[in-house]
Symmetry: C2
């Protein structure tokens, strides 16, 4: 799993930062990509990456502000044009369906694949054998959701040496042991799954929050997460503005991550007010509250290193 | 007047070409900018130029395909955010109003300025003391307009030496002469405007066409124009495809310009199939049909040199 930031700015694009979009690359886990928010020109950003639009399986929209949705119609059209034929699942607030249907209808965009709309409500909004996604309502000027993406524990890993020592023959018995069952060998001995497997590793938890002021729901969704992506539209000096506009400061974000005992925090939705030369100072202040913190830039990518249970920056700034 | 290409590609953005948008810079003529089409990320392209969104006075949309309108909601929002308070005139097909109103409403974009919608029909759609805009219906798969922008003849230029020789005093009489009137001097002599002015220069005519297959309306709108901007989605080898999709080849465009006896032709809406290495060959073929021809690239800019009555490339490729 990798997390790739496609747009890390707030409100309007700037030369440094595009509006909100993030790719959760689940190639290894499910051969697919999930997107979170689609600010204008997300498809242009994707042109600079290895992402294939037809590999996008699900898109989660946090809220209906333009800087989070204006890139969606273009991306949907291009996914079609580039040979996408697999259904696309779209998750978001109630109005998302009207937005997508109206823009596609008026622009005569005929998709080669069906869209399945899922109106988001609080709670588990998706679950299959590998992943669970839970949504929670944050505190912004309009309904805005945060998403907690949890990978289910991986299958136990078979220790072939141990299995052979115990005389388990190659074939279906091995699959049963791997699936957690106890099997009986030809000579009547029983072999338990735990005799020949290493314990199942827990999966990762990534929490991706939409625009919000400091709130307890953010903390709840971020509990013990391996990565929290939290907005930071303002810095400490503009705390008053943050409250007025339903946004967070960089210290609000750090406080959420710290109280939730999350591992890494990456802040996005960063104001154009943050000058690159101030970043060091901002990072220092953030890290006093939550040590493992970063400020995201467009095209920063972080990789989940399973054995260390850590997100490690692999490209970008 | 300058013409600045902000997006010269067809259908989808590529690394080389963004989707359709063109700025007609009328700083000298009316202190304003007119845009023609707003493909996605036109506001991102504008960030790379000196254009101030609040200076955009009118936007003309040729047709409702996504590659011509998906950048409009974002641009309207940013014009507001950047202090635009002057009304904006929007010209386009009937459905444009629903598109703009729905996207702004659902994205909670509150503009600081009013939009005045003008549903385009064939004929003169705008006229004031400096400019006339005529619209004509082209031949594409959906209703698509071409626009002919005509600057009115400039005011006659006063020859101060001649005026003084004839004894015209400084003051209001000079203004009357400049406005074309005959005046009576204190000693009873009459002075005609033509005695003290150089003849009015004709203005420029620029024709900007939307997506279309070869059609006589294109020729009509382009008649004697100083500049024609015509689409060329296909080259000669893909002529059959052009007809099927309601588009033109590069030779169709050249034929229109030639038959209309237009001065310069610039083709845009160029397929990603056109490789830079083929451009020389394409240009050679075009110029056999219409000598003064160019293939537009993003950020190419052409300046109207009044005394030579010519569009001259000032930046770009
Ligand atoms: Zn936002
Ligand atoms: Zn087009």
């Amino acid at each position: 799993m990798q997390v790739l930031f496609l747009g890390t700015g707030a409100g309007m694009p700037s030369k440094q930062r595009n509006t909100s979009a993030l790719a959760l690359k689940l190639h290894e886990e499910r051969g697919a990509i999930w997107l979170f928010d689609c600010g204008e020109a997300v498809q242009h950003q994707i042109l600079e990456t290895t992402i294939k639009p037809r590999k996008i399986e699900k898109i989660f929209i946090t809220h209906m502000h333009g800087d989070h949705i204006f890139g969606l119609p273009g991306l949907l059209g291009s996914r079609s044009f580039q040979g996408g034929d697999v259904p696309l699942d779209l998750y978001g607030p109630k109005e998302l369906k009207e937005y997508v249907e109206t823009t596609l209808r008026l622009s005569r965009t005929h998709l080669t694949y069906p869209i399945r709309f899922h109106e988001v409500i609080e709670g588990v909004i998706f679950e299959d054998k590998t992943m669970t996604v839970e949504a929670g309502l944050l505190e912004h000027v309009i309904p805005t959701y945060g998403y907690r993406i949890k990978q289910k524990p991986l299958l136990p890993k078979l220790d072939m040496n141990k299995a052979m020592q115990l005389g388990v023959p190659k074939g279906p018995l091995l699959a049963k042991l791997k699936a957690g069952e106890t099997v009986e060998l030809e000579d009547g001995r029983n072999v338990k799954s735990s005799d020949v497997t290493e314990p199942a590793e827990p999966g990762f938890t990534v929490t991706i929050l939409g625009d919000t002021q400091y709130c307890s729901k953010s903390e709840h969704l971020s509990k013990d997460a391996d990565l929290v992506v939290h907005e930071a539209t303002f810095d400490g000096e503009t705390e008053k503005l943050a409250k007025d506009y339903g946004h967070s400061t960089i210290l609000d974000a750090a406080t959420v991550a710290s109280r939730a005992q999350a591992q890494k925090l990456i802040v996005n939705h960063v104001s154009a007010r943050f000058m690159p030369e101030h970043e060091k100072e901002l990072l220092k202040n953030m890290r006093k509250v939550h040590e493992d913190s970063e400020i995201a830039h467009d095209f920063d990518e972080f990789d989940w290193v399973k054995k260390d249970r850590k997100m490690v920056k692999i490209t970008g700034h």
